[in-house]
Symmetry: C2
Subunit: 404 residues, 2 copies
DNA sequence: CCGAATTGCCAAAACGTTTTAGATCGCTAA
DNA sequence: TTAGCGATCTAAAACGTTTTGGCAATTCGG
């Protein structure tokens, strides 16, 4: 008994290697490699011969051998926690679609794993030591996120979707959560609303915290008391349970407007509003952050909701562009602020609402100074909302140099 | 000018290798490897020394070297088409969550790529030749699917989520689409409904086609004309556009019941029903296939919808179990039929509906013979529907031997 | 006390690439 | 004539593991 484990017999199907190809053509493996990889020290005739032979035999270099010698995997790591049903988050799919599209264009793929231990960083550490990937995608950062600390120490490329205040020198892709929500609530207030419910995500995540801070700033700017806005938090990281939360919000009979942190909750909430006997857009104003979730059909609500729209698909693409840049040219950190657009119904439908005075909407005052294409645009009517087919891909925003 | 491309300088951070560890301990690399891999021909004292040293130095074997020599990647490939917005399909996330959880438990990860060419098989072929993964996950098969043909020829492990009639010797995980929908429509008819709208997915996919066939069988069994059921197809592979399709369905004033192929469409359709002045569950019966999409909150409709529930999360897990089995022990193909449960409101709420006669529900006659735990269960009230937190993981069903 | 079995370890081969550092050959310029 | 040079090609060394086959030393059975 010399060993305890036995090896499975190698699969019979023998694949073509570079050695076979060299033998077949009477060339050295060096030449094959260099011909296929576009080096200039191989004759044009030879190169054509090699390429043709590779094509007909279907030769493809073994990726693991290549990875081993080149110390590069051409794969990005994406590790998600398995808990809280967070995996089934619809926002995730949208980002994922963008990530995968852009990754494919750059000839990368994405290695996915579920973090199963309490220690959030264990799998990251392992993937780094095993050289499984070239870089990481980090999402949903929390204040003082240990993953960022680890990756900075390890010196591995990574991009955070979102931002976190504790660390500074890292790459991120984000929207101006604080500014957007300051503007949104500001518009509501300036339209005459005096009691507003804000149904936010889980504020232990930075993005939701920033949104709340933005709301607070809008109040402070106008010397209004905190009670003007009642904040309700979803237990789900990205916001669900919209039905229940809306029911809670409606308990306050004086509330004339609801602001949602995600369109899922906004749509879910419609049932609760209807059940309460009110009608959205007439008895109560509804505004929401719209992340362009491709399968949340907002078109039935196009004349009811005001919203701020930003593309998660584009964010996913921007994340990959940044990762590729870090891995292939310049490892210095960059932040990318994604654009957002305001689509506001006139006066947030304030006319006729109890407790409001008719006033022109004045969306987007302040907070958007550093976001040119994010500058609020007012539109009377929501266009392009139907989900008939492929959405156009937005340009991935613009770059912001991080201060040193 | 000897080469056209330049190599990036190696990253300074030098990682610990097995050689370093051997040197440090005064042992051969063979011993390190065998100690760490649990072979019995290394002394217990030595083994402890090695394990301790590996722990303190944080040594982890280079995964690419390991893959190269072992001819095994411990990764499964999942390739999706980038088109049609199919990527953002919410059903996908649910399966994905299950796949990743099970994969993690077996120490696999998932390599993801987007198929960007028209040729659906190109990337598969490439991944096989490059030995990038140990096996594949195939989803949404279409009749005579070229991917299955390719993978069978290549002799690579793979599991199809769904089934396809043309090929036989392959592994699959599926529900009994045909039997379930035969039973569902049968129950509707037997409850007295004489005009039914069936809002199905895209019938160029096998799963939707099977469902339609099942519906047809229910009619044939009862000698009813095809017009009894009006079929409307979503352009989206897995079913969306529920609002518009429901509006179409409601044009038929005599229709007393709507059957949805997915809960997304069912929920979307609610707005259309409400807008038409009818009330679901009173003026019109609603039944749906419920794939337990974690973020489609069905609880507001718990007393309105009848449904058949099956867990995509469990399906994802079953897929991985099957892949692991194929890769690590027995490569012969197995089919796994996932269980489903009927949750029927009494009589499908037929009482008081125009054009129906009161009749007891008789769900699930026929079609379920080979699906023991899929045998319809009737429940008066839908329980456990709220989405408060983690869903329990269902057992992955039972095995069905494929005929030879 | 001797041969055989067992225990604990190791050198070297293999996995399939890329890259380094030449080697060869014909041509040109001095 | 020859040194130099450009154009092609290649042998060998990496990359970091696992596995094969074997070698000592120790223990054991008789």
């Amino acid at each position: 008994m010399s060993k305890v484990k036995t090896r499975r017999p190698a699969r019979p199907g023998t694949r073509m290697t570079i050695k076979d190809l060299a033998q077949k053509l009477g060339l050295s493996i060096t030449t094959i490699s260099r011909a296929l990889n576009g080096y200039s020290d191989v004759g044009e005739a030879t190169r054509q011969r090699v390429i043709e032979a590779a094509r007909t035999t279907g030769y493809r270099p073994n990726r693991n051998a290549r990875r081993l010698v080149m110390q590069r995997t051409h794969s990005f790591g994406w590790i998600r926690t398995d808990s809280e049903g967070l995996f089934a988050d619809p926002h995730f799919v949208e980002v994922f679609a963008g990530v995968l599209r852009a990754a494919g264009q750059h000839n990368y793929d994405v290695t996915f794993a579920a973090e199963r231990d309490k220690d959030q960083t264990e799998l990251y550490d392992r993937y780094i030591r095993e050289q499984s990937v070239d870089g990481f995608i980090i999402e949903l950062p929390r204040p003082n996120d240990p993953r960022i600390t680890l990756l900075l120490e390890a010196g591995v490329p990574f991009v955070v979707h979102g931002r976190e205040a504790r660390h500074t020198h890292y790459s991120w892709v984000d929207v101006d959560n604080r500014g957007l929500f300051r503007a949104l609530v500001g518009a509501m207030i300036d339209s005459g609303h005096k009691r507003i419910a804000f149904i936010n995500g889980d504020e232990t995540y930075c993005y939701a915290l920033e949104r709340r801070i933005g709301v607070g700033e809008a109040l402070a700017e106008r010397d209004l008391p905190p009670e003007t806005v009642r904040v309700l938090n979803s237990r789900h990281p990205m916001g669900m349970f919209g039905f229940q939360l809306t029911q809670q919000a409606l308990e306050d009979k004086k509330a004339t407007a609801i602001l949602y942190s995600s369109s899922i909750m906004a749509v879910e909430g419609q049932a609760a509003i209807a059940r309460s006997g009110r009608r959205a857009g007439r008895d109560i104003a509804v505004a929401t952050m719209d992340d362009e979730l491709r399968y949340v059909d907002l078109s039935p609500y196009a004349n009811i909701f005001s919203f701020v729209r930003s593309s998660l698909h584009a964010a996913g693409q921007a994340i990959v562009e940044e990762l590729v840049r870090q891995c292939e040219s310049d490892p210095s950190p960059h932040g990318t602020m994604m654009p957002a657009r305001f689509h506001m119904l006139p006066g947030l439908k304030t006319e006729g609402l109890p407790g409001t005075a008719a006033a022109p909407p004045a969306p987007g005052q302040g907070g958007m100074s550093q976001a040119p294409s994010g500058r609020p645009e007012t539109s009377k009517r929501c266009s392009n909302l139907s989900l008939t087919g492929e959405k156009p891909i937005l340009s991935p925003g613009w770059k912001v140099e991080l201060p040193d």
